[in-house]
Amino acid sequence: MNAPNSFRTGPDERGHFGIHGGRFVAETLMPLILELEKAYEAARADPAFQAEMDGYLTHYVGRPSPLYYAERLTEHLRDVARKAGKDGGAKIYFKREELNHTGSHKVNNVLGQIMLARRMGKHRIIAETGAGQHGVATATLCARFGLKCVVYMGAVDVERQKPNVFRMKMLGAEVVPVQSGSKTLKDAMNEALRDWVTNVHDTFYCIGTVAGPHPYPGMVRDFQSIIGRETREQIMEAEGRLPDSLIAAVGGGSNAMGLFHPFLDDPTVEMFGVEAAGHGIASGQHAASITGGKPGVLHGNRTYLLMDGDGQIAEAHSISAGLDYPGIGPEHSWLNDIGRVTYITCTDAEALAAFQVCSKLEGIIPALECAHALGKVLELATERPQDHLMVMNLSGRGDKDIFTVAEHLGAQI
């Protein structure tokens, strides 16, 4: 395969990243998507738009988020390596996205889309959510700007993410439990699309990840790229050089794209996307679309999907509601195909163990989503030398997950 001059120019004008991406939507939505593309291009070229967003990022979201040296975790892993007779143990940094307002990276993207919706004169915002982090971020910004907010959430997820459901309601959003299909994130997205098709005139669909029809994957990535841009500056300040590796959990993949994108053209920076392996890839109960799936078309884009031989979409499984989706953003699928990013997997059990290690050693309770990245940091860091700089995206805080974790650990709350 010929290597492109830059890995950062995608998508093309039709929304393709290699064979992935595109605009696979019903005709009713097509004019809206073209209008959105135009509006986003105009906003992107408008310094006033960026300046206004920067103001809110600083004063409302609380950016920049710190790049934190995880000293005790680093020491712990060097200890583990030493006991195994090795001298490895990379220096681990966390990009602290969990310190953002609303507790995850999701707010970066939502802020951008809500400001765009305001520019376009749309007053009703709809969103899908899995773990509830995107729903909470959307409800928060709708409250802040006085917009009507409807959040679609699978009935199964409503049950396992109760704290976030209550948060959304407190923020004035209407939360609609979705009873169709597998009652999780993919069904919430179907229902949001059905709403959008019905309410085309006043409604803006705020997609929570780097997926969906063009221009969403590229637009959401752009809004999330602040993670990588800050990381670049911060690591230069702290270490005087670029990191050796980046690692992030991947469901739809927005926190990973945000961290990776500004580094894609730096050949010395190795990148790992961590997919959720659930009970293990061999069990068939997982959410690892690249590792265990094939290219297909769903929710407006071509990308790796979990499905059967007839093209029927399979139900994903992960302990983390935010990763429980049978697809992945199309840019990740492309980065996998060209070999620029390595996609690996982490099981429920490995993520649970990492969740506890991080809580005890660093005093940070991570979201179960990024606990998957952490699970692989525990492995990869010991195999790398001590002067290796590894940055992990700590994309969300784990308060919302304590009930799920307690249940798995057999503890009563």
Binding site: F24, M30, G181, V197, H201, L298, M307, G311
Partner: protein, 281 residues
């Protein structure tokens, strides 16, 4: 009135015959394999006798983004009963053994076709006797995927035009459309709001200003009265959710077909056909 395909299809022939008769047509939609393969084939075979002029056969998909609860549920019933795209093509083949003239249009989403393989699918569909395709999630922007190969294979690609398709966009939507144009009468999902017959008539006139193809109108048409009212301003009217809902209502408490299933669907189709056939144009 020919389509850009190599020779007239059964769809072209049927709409020419309707024009000669001076009446609008009835297009009936059922989901292939609902509630099971054998019953579904029996319904399919009964539809022309009940007065269906064109048949849309829904290809079940787990994630039907443009469909309302009735057709969503029908698709899941069919999938649970083991329906696949290959079996749906088998149904068309079995139907063709007894009916050489009624056009069959497969309607669904792209993924099952993509996974089956576009070239293999088109060859098998043509051989089975499929006349047209409606693929909801393939707008003109994705014509390379299936539309152009289908036209080359002699299968009509029928596009949806919607209330959001304005005059600027309409030519692009109509460009590679063949057989007929399917006007979606509402912004929304199948089987939801009831369309306004006057507004639909105006919209059909607008589309006809851009194309010589017949225009069929659907989404939200449920009763014989509504069908007749819509048919006054169109070349054909499409009824789907109401027929699929009739299948559901006829099932036993385990969701299995009963002796009522086929006759109930046949009866509704006949009532719809009687109402539509009474309309003179």
């Amino acid at each position: 009135m020919t389509s850009p395909t190599t020779s007239p299809t059964r769809i072209d022939d049927r709409f020419q015959a309707l024009a000669k008769e001076g009446r609008p047509g009835l297009v009936t939609f059922i989901t292939a394999g609902d509630p099971d393969g054998a019953t579904s084939l029996a319904i399919l075979k009964a539809l022309p006798g009940a007065g269906a002029d064109v048949i849309e056969l829904g290809v079940p998909f787990t994630d039907p983004m443009a469909d309302g609860p009735a057709i969503q549920a029908a698709g899941l019933r069919a999938l649970r009963a083991g329906q696949t795209l290959a079996k749906t093509l088998g149904m068309v083949k079995a139907f063709r053994e007894g009916d050489a003239t009624t056009p069959i249009v497969l309607m669904g989403y792209f993924n099952p076709i993509y996974v089956y393989g576009v070239d293999r699918f088109l060859a098998d569909a043509k051989a089975a006797g499929v006349d047209g395709l409606i693929v909801v999630d393939l707008p003109p922007e994705e014509d390379d995927e299936l539309c152009l190969p289908a036209l080359a294979a002699g299968i009509d690609f029928i596009r949806l035009a919607t209330p959001t398709t304005d005059d600027r966009r309409l030519p692009a939507v109509l460009k590679h459309t063949a057989g007929f144009v399917y006007y979606v009468s509402i912004t929304g999902i199948t089987g939801s709001a009831t369309p306004d017959a006057d507004a639909v008539g105006t919209a059909v006139k607008r589309i006809k200003g851009h194309t010589a193809l017949p225009v069929a109108v659907g989404f939200g048409v449920k009763t014989p009265e509504q069908a007749a009212a819509i048919a006054k301003g169109a070349d054909a009217v499409v009824v789907g959710s109401a027929l699929v809902e009739t299948v559901r209502a006829s099932l036993d408490s385990h969701g299995k077909a009963t002796a009522e299933t086929v006759p109930a669907v046949e009866q509704l189709a006949r009532a719809l056909a009687d109402a539509v056939r009474a309309v003179r144009r």
